[in-house]
């Protein structure tokens, strides 16, 4: 047995999870091997691992998703075991099998378990067989109206009537009342037929206002399976988890025991080995229904670790070595203490439909403090590439109770500096600060209800925030000036003859702000914006932050300045502004004054317009032949033809006026 122990682990992943696993493995005494694509060659997981192997170009399909490249890397480095992390190949049966076939240890479940849980309908049938509660419904071939109505009533109202071939909400009906069933079934069928060419319907019990609650389970090769209680991941947007916590505010000890037992039964049904998660829908009435099982370590595993005081990666390694689980169910349950909440910090723009964002990270600083944990791979100066997931960091806080964990996490987010790439930090703070979230009474409908897209998109920076951005710019310019000229920063804005407010133009998205800035003694700012005046006194100016006093209260602003972009975190929000103060006026194209001149000596071949005619920008006015070439002379402005000075056949000189257009105002 001892001879089979592995000592070197390859982590077939990137980003924060690769860093997390590598650190965990190193702590447990293993040699570690990172793999990387070209985009990640300087990434933190590469730097932290003992060895690293390049596995291909930046796109994941050419690197992290190529089984043969990963196996080659393992062979090259001599790794005996492979940890898949999450995502990428972690839930590919073929990968687990290939690893085992290569004589290596796959740190995760066996291929058959992955396969069993990978197919939704097959897994549901297995779960029903194992007495794991599933959403009741009907998916039979008998599509008669009366059968469907009867099955709907059997499942219990309300029900979802769904097109079996459907998607995107078409052919889908939520029905509350029995007497509305027939009409809805018929209209859904006709819509499904039209949309998908198949009128086949299925019935599912509608679980209204459900929560997403999942159970962390762990199995070993000695037949033991235990659970680590639940995690609540109800704060989701479009099925993406945003905030996760353990335990769930909606689960009491009795329910925990029940759900834990169901999850353990589910895992045992597929002979599960290693870390896994069984996801359930939890209805308001305490009923829960199996959704799916994730056969890997979850993104949100840290909340479980903090609450149970365990290192799940260490457990994974032990189980992979063939060891029995280190603790029994009773021991694990007894360790449960306090509450942990995690948020996923993503490089995405909540205002712009959560569009993923890329670019250089100008400033990254993780929060620190009691009960605060940050899993990330970010560093200042790193670049967020477009090739991978937008999640950049997980910020997690633990507290003796939920409120302590929540306020700690809020504070930790406030102390997180993430500038240079638009991200969802402020959005996460707003969620944590939301009253419904604080109360614990919410469901998967939370974000749709409290953070509708229109509302998220409409939020704008306050005048004060814009004013602070201008102060940041000003101070930064001063700093540069002082460095260049050996001058003191107190010189800034000083005019020997009179006070002269400097004019600044800032752009936030499409919004332009005009500001007038008057500075006294280099620190007392009088800023006029949109007709109002804001007085800001800079108490302290440091390289990347300054402390300011507005209306008697001192605050702090963190800044990053990159080219024309100014990032500012202050008063709980971060915005990026573009400094357009000195943006050169748009150079006007030749002829923009409406004078269309001959581009060279030549002969007029055709004149397409006459005086008084209205022309659009880009219209060809005159064709000129020179050097055997024909030139289409177009107008760079829209307007009305004032005069036409030439006709076809005329010989003209270069720069001779041909047509005068009166440009539109």
């Amino acid at each position: 047995m001892m001879s089979k122990r592995f000592t070197k682990v390859l982590v077939a992943n990137r980003g924060e999870i690769a860093v997390r696993v590598i650190r965990g493995a190193k702590k447990a005494g293993y040699q570690t091997v990172a793999v990387y694509s070209d985009a990640d060659k300087d990434s933190m997981h590469v730097l932290e691992a003992d060895e690293a192997v390049r596995i291909g170009p930046s796109p994941a399909k050419d690197s992290y998703l190529l089984i043969e490249n990963i196996l080659a890397a393992a062979k090259l480095s001599g790794a005996q075991a492979i940890h898949p992390g999450y995502g990428f190949l972690s839930e590919r049966e073929a990968f687990a099998k290939a690893v085992q076939d290569a004589g290596l240890i796959f740190i995760g479940p066996d291929p058959h378990s992955i396969e069993a849980m990978g197919n939704k309908s097959a897994s549901k049938i297995r779960m029903i067989a194992a007495n794991v509660p599933c959403v009741p419904g009907y998916q039979g071939d008998d599509q008669a109206d009366e059968t469907l109505v009867a099955e709907s009533k059997k499942a219990g109202l309300p029900v979802m009537v769904k097109a079996a071939a459907g998607g995107g909400g078409r052919g889908m009906r939520l029905v509350y009342e029995a007497n509305e069933l027939l009409a809805n079934i018929q209209s859904a069928r006709s819509e499904a037929t039209n949309a998908f060419g198949s009128g086949q319907l299925l019935i599912e019990k509608a679980v209204m206002d459900a929560r997403h609650v999942e159970i962390q389970i762990f199995g070993d090769r000695h037949g033991n399976v235990i659970h680590f209680g639940e995690r609540d991941c109800s704060v989701q947007r479009r099925n993406q988890k945003v905030v996760e916590e353990a335990p769930s505010p909606a689960v009491d000890e009795a329910l925990r025991v029940k759900m834990g037992a169901a999850a353990v039964a589910a895992a045992k049904a597929v002979n599960y080995v290693g870390a896994g998660t069984v996801e359930f829908m939890l209805a308001r009435d305490g009923q829960f229904y199996f959704l799916e099982m994730n056969t890997r370590l979850q993104v949100e595993h840290p909340v479980t670790e903090l609450v149970y005081g365990v290192d799940l990666v260490e457990w994974q390694l032990r189980v992979a070595q063939g060891e029995p689980l280190p603790l029994t169910q009773e021991q694990v349950s007894a360790k449960r203490k306090g509450w942990a909440i995690e948020v996923r910090l993503c490089a995405e723009d909540p205002r712009d439909n959560y569009m993923p964002q890329t670019g250089p990270v100008l400033s990254w600083s993780a929060p620190q403090g009691d009960g605060v944990r940050v899993d990330t791979y970010l560093t200042t100066g790193a670049t967020i590439s477009p090739f991978y997931d937008s999640m950049q960091a997980k910020v997690i806080a633990w507290g003796e109770d939920r409120e302590t964990a929540r306020t700690r996490l809020l504070k930790a987010l406030e102390q997180t500096s993430f500038l240079g790439v638009v991200n969802n930090k402020d959005y996460l703070s707003a969620i944590l600060a939301n009253e419904a979230f604080a109360s614990g009474d919410f469901s998967t409908a939370f974000i749709g209800k409290y953070f509708p897209q229109e509302q998220v998109s409409a939020a704008k920076p306050s005048s004060r925030h814009v004013a602070l951005a201008v102060v940041a710019l000003y101070l930064d310019d001063a700093q540069k000036l002082a460095e260049e000229n050996n001058l003191s920063s107190e010189f800034i804005g000083w005019h020997s003859s009179h006070e002269a407010p400097a004019e600044f133009k800032l752009k936030w998205r499409d919004q332009e702000y005009d500001l007038e800035v008057l500075v006294h003694d280099g620190h007392q700012f009088s800023i006029e914006i949109a007709g109002s005046k804001i007085e800001i006194n800079v108490a302290r100016s440091l390289p990347h932050e300054f402390h300011y006093i507005v209306e008697g209260v001192q605050g702090k602003a963190v800044i990053a300045h990159h080219g024309d972009a100014v990032w500012l975190t202050a008063e709980g929000t971060t915005h990026c502004y573009t400094d357009t103060s000195l943006a050169p006026a748009q150079a006007v194209a030749a002829g923009a004054d409406g004078r269309i001149l001959a581009n060279s000596d030549g002969k007029i071949v055709a004149v397409h317009v006459e005086a008084g005619q209205k022309v659009e920008k880009g219209t060809t006015l005159v064709v000129l032949e020179a050097m055997k070439m024909e030139f289409q002379l177009t107008t760079p402005v829209s307007g009305v033809i004032e005069t036409v000075s030439v006709k076809a056949g005329d010989q003209v000189k270069g720069r001779q006026l041909l047509v005068q257009v009166k440009p539109d105002a």
């Binding site: 107190e490 020997s496 004019e503 600044f504 006026a585 150079a587």
Partner: protein, 535 residues
């Protein structure tokens, strides 16, 4: 360096009275500046607006890096001339930061008489270019001038320091490798055409900018040729045909943006290295200067109280503290830069003159720039002092001042009378920058003495003719002289005539000197060499 221990009681009635008086003086000065800057006949502003032109201050805002300092020269030039019709001498000059580089700015003010060149406009422009030459600073010209003011052509055209000197200075700058860019925002006619013509780069605005030796009316008169402005010297002609101008622009904003980009191509100066340390604010608040300066110019005060309110940490290393005590000499740091300071604490005696000459030599030997703080009634007169050689001792000081290689800076803090003006590096002695405080006075002797002397001469002449004068008769002779003297010894007269580079609010002096020092270091400092010191 030890901190100067101020002996001034800032809560004393005297201090408070001085402060109130001097604040009023400064307020009046600020108001004069405001008028010179902003007050224009509405029709002149309307005319510029109708031509789609910006005012000179708006152009400067576009040109200068936002929020950077601007040291304006001679803002009250010509204020006491031409019946006050030509505020600021119709141009704005100064040192500002453009694309991160210190540059001299020479901007015509077309809201004053169409930007016509008056004799004092020429003087101010020549001085700005002298500053550029002496300090090797690039120049940005914002050209918008109607040309020479013809009724006064005799006073601005031909003499050594008249208009030709502008072009001569431009050539000298170019020869020294100091770059210039002109932005042609209006007409550059006749001589004015050479400003862009002699610049390394120039930008011209389509429609409003034009360059020609003679405008259309003169061409018509001279040759009968009918030609439009645009065709004769407009943007497209010069940028595509004659090559007189380099960059076409379709608006003033674009032209100035192009000029900024041109300046961004200039190589940054290798600044002369002098002793420097982290700057420290003065321990004593510079605004206390208002209370330090006496209401009455005849009242003496300790110049160390001024030094304490100018220099870093109010720290001063005094040289020869017990010798020649009417001239305070010593080292200090100003905005971090190490400087030598000479300040008057009374009339210059033999010992103080020798001490001054020695100290100036020390500063030159060690490449330490020198600041002169003038409050001087002159060299001591009388039998005893002549016998001790006050003239030759004063001559030594003047020789040392004249032959200094280090940058010199002079501030007229209070009185500047007689040859003391010279020994303390007055205007004739090539200080890189010379500033005046608003209550300061300059003349060959005090107004009272001068008026009395002149009245005495007159009384004696009349007495010889047997005429007896009543006190009223004497006053009638004396008062106009006194009035004229007082007018011409005031700082406002000096600055109108540009005997200085501008009046400063005393509290601003520290900043102005900081920029002046920084600018001066763009030029190398030569090794000292002197003429004969009369021993």
């Amino acid at each position: 360096m030890k901190r100067i221990e101020s002996k001034i009681n800032t809560s004393s009635a005297e201090f408070q009275a001085n402060a109130a008086h001097n604040r009023k003086v400064v307020d009046d000065f600020r108001e004069l500046q405001r008028k010179a800057r902003d007050d224009r006949p509405q029709r002149d502003i309307d005319r510029l607006r109708s031509q789609n032109k910006l005012l000179v201050r708006e152009r400067l805002k576009l040109l200068l890096d936002p929020g950077t300092p601007f040291l304006e020269f001679s803002s009250l030039a010509a204020n006491d001339a031409y019946d006050g019709d030509v505020p600021g001498a119709a141009c704005v000059t100064g040192i500002g930061i453009v694309s991160g580089r210190e540059v001299v700015i020479n901007a015509g003010d077309a809201s004053v008489k169409g930007g016509a060149w008056y004799p004092l406009t020429v003087k101010k422009t020549v001085r700005a270019l002298d500053i550029a030459i002496e300090n090797r600073l690039p120049v940005v010209h914002l050209c918008d001038s109607a040309g020479g003011f013809l009724p006064l052509q005799a006073d601005l055209f031909a003499d050594k320091y008249m208009a030709g000197r502008i072009f001569r200075n431009q050539c000298q700058l170019s020869k020294m490798g100091v770059q210039q860019v002109s932005v042609v925002l209006g007409h550059c006619t006749a001589g004015g055409a050479y400003v862009p013509g002699l610049s390394d780069y120039n930008v011209i605005v389509r429609g409003t900018g034009a360059i020609f030796l003679a405008g259309p009316p003169l061409v018509k008169a001279a040759t009968g040729e009918d030609v439009s402005v645009e065709d004769l010297g407009g943007c497209d002609m010069h940028t595509s045909v004659s090559g007189t101008a380099d960059y076409p622009a379709s608006s003033e904003e674009e032209a100035i943006a192009i000029a900024r980009d041109i300046v961004a191509q200039f190589k940054r100066p290798q600044k002369t290295h002098i002793e420097w340390q982290e700057p420290e604010a003065p321990f004593y608040d510079p605004s206390e200067l208002y209370g330090v300066i006496p209401k009455d110019i005849k009242q003496q005060f300790d110049i160390r109280e001024v030094i304490a309110r100018l220099v870093d940490g109010s720290r001063f290393h005094e040289y020869q503290p017990n010798y020649g005590k009417t001239l305070i000499c010593g080292y200090a740091h100003l905005w971090g830069y190490k400087i030598g300071i000479l300040g008057n604490n009374g009339v210059l005696f033999n010992d103080s003159s020798l001490k001054g000459a020695h100290f100036i030599e020390l500063c030159n030997q060690n490449k330490t720039p020198i600041l002169f703080l003038q409050n001087i009634t002159g060299f001591m007169v009388g039998r005893e002092y002549e016998r001790r050689g006050i003239t030759k001792d004063g001559a030594k000081m003047i020789m040392a001042v004249s032959c200094s290689e280090v940058p010199k800076f002079t501030v007229m803090c209070n009185g500047s009378f007689g040859a003391g003006n010279y020994g303390m590096s007055g205007r004739a002695f090539d200080s890189r920058f010379l500033f005046a405080w608003p209550q300061s006075q300059i003349s060959v002797m005090g107004a009272e003495q001068a008026a009395n002397t002149l009245a005495d001469v007159k009384v004696r002449q009349l007495a010889k003719q047997g005429k007896k004068l009543t006190q009223e008769d004497i006053d009638a002779i004396r008062d106009p002289v006194l009035g004229e003297f007082k007018r011409k010894q005031s700082a406002y007269w000096s600055t109108s005539e540009m005997w200085d580079d501008g009046i400063l609010d005393p509290a601003d002096t520290r900043n102005a000197l900081g920029i002046a020092l920084s600018a001066s270091l763009s030029a190398p400092i030569g090794d000292p060499r002197y003429g004969i010191f009369r021993m």
